[in-house]
Symmetry: C2
Subunit: 339 residues, 2 copies
Amino acid sequence: MAQRVKLSTIGEALGLSTATVSLALRDSPLVADVTRERIKEAARELGYIYNRRAASLRTSRSGIVGVCVHDVMNPFYGEILKSIESELDRHRQTFILCNHHDDLSKQRSFTDTLLQLGADGAILSPALGTPAADIRLAEENGLPVILIARTIEGAGVEGFRGDDAYGMGLAVDHLVSLGHRSIAMIGGTRATSTGREREAGYRAGLERGGIAFRPEWRIEGPRDRHSGFASASEFLALPERPTAIVCFSDLVALGVMYGLARGGVRPGIDVAVVGYDDIEEAEIAMPPLTTVSNGQSEVGERSASALLQRLQGVEAAERTTLIEPQLRVRQSCGAPLPR
Amino acid sequence: MAQRVKLSTIGEALGLSTATVSLALRDSPLVADVTRERIKEAARELGYIYNRRAASLRTSRSGIVGVCVHDVMNPFYGEILKSIESELDRHRQTFILCNHHDDLSKQRSFTDTLLQLGADGAILSPALGTPAADIRLAEENGLPVILIARTIEGAGVEGFRGDDAYGMGLAVDHLVSLGHRSIAMIGGTRATSTGREREAGYRAGLERGGIAFRPEWRIEGPRDRHSGFASASEFLALPERPTAIVCFSDLVALGVMYGLARGGVRPGIDVAVVGYDDIEEAEIAMPPLTTVSNGQSEVGERSASALLQRLQGVEAAERTTLIEPQLRVRQSCGAPLPR
């Protein structure tokens, strides 16, 4: 029933032309903001539903951008999403989300949905094992893709991520400068570019400090708070226990700190702990967490801008921009508590 | 170019009829799972893109369900989403997410998008101040809506949420049974049904314990970890400091515990703290958090089932189902630490 409300009905109710109403409902910049809002309000009251499905067959833009990441609940991605969202909001792009949980078939199903809906583009933190061909297929079918947080060799699209090897090196250098000579690394997997880069940074930092890498001090796997917590008992059971730990992420570090405390070992006093990402929780944690800022808001903002540029017709840049990470020294590696 | 691959091309490649290929790509139950996957794999390899936009103008189902909540990063919603997702996955519905951040215009824009895309339905934790008319408008335009976590008077649709008043009562009763006579409540706002119900449960619990409500011990507002952390200094500055705190949510409680510890007060030893939700972090927190299980996975599963029933033609039930909350006693209110 509501479908039968016509543009002319709205125009008549407001004393405006049908053309103005039509432009406003399509978010044309030719209509002033105030007028557009008034028209949309009236359209809503009258029960008018703009049929974007039909319209998208006629026009080239749907106004929809898809964002797909490993897990939207992870605050690291949450903080990236927040800045993508505010950038897209300013350009009146609708933003839909999907978790791929590192399941390639889920990622493909979402990409297919975006293609089928005629979405304008996708911002993707690609699932483990994503072949470059998947990205090229999307691009060839008119879906511009921007990669965040992870890289895919040969995908040939623009990407933004932190310089993970450099950042993890900063963490290790800092611990070495405090006098630590036995430093474990907990978490991450070599199946992601992030995991490989951060481990490379850890090893390079040890090497700069003249410290040999010891495989038993590299506890692979944990990528969230719970598995970080569980790995603390593995760490505590080491025959020769290191005096410091660098963690794959803040979530892992926060879980490790819970686990150390549960085992009667005080993080920041008995063992130094460093995280990675500088999520918002890091500075209020107990003890506050020394970590490496990973430029989440810059990654979000720049990836959204790059996508919007593509939609303006700017050609794809086939490069990955590395955001420079920064060390944030707090109490989990032994500094005194702020008062 | 890829658009030019025809159904018959895929059929020929696999030795199957065009009709079978067509059914498989539309997820028809008439095609065996194994065959469907083989067809989809071949379609992908050949670069075939099923045009759902055109198809959705012809058929009545798009296979898309929208889910919109205050903040997908909040683990309480995250855990609901996880169970919605697994239920929808089993029925091959694609699932798109949106944060409304309690901004009515964002929620309306997402609902409009769902209507415009011809989505099959929406699961909504409604934004503060959502008028019942918004829900009715969506329903009248063919978008079935199921409400979760929050209620809207007069919306006339099915909803699922925890019994918040009863649950908060359990928390207060437990503290009273431990001998506490001065109990603060931190967090939540009367602008949401959840906030009102939990405060009502707090007041009812005090009354059952023969304890007078004291406005200065009701610290309203905090709904996340950071604002919980900030409110701890307000609590610590109270002239007569209560011996126990019930919090609006686990996130608030975890922030309060960080804040108490920062102020040199030991949660679980100097002050008892109880949360609400029983998010996964509660049991590994330091100290492990006593809380009220809010039935997230049941809310998620039942809301998704209810929506799928609607899609099967079952008529809307105009009722809110209250899930029974359960107290989980851990160390933050004084129990000994598990070993």
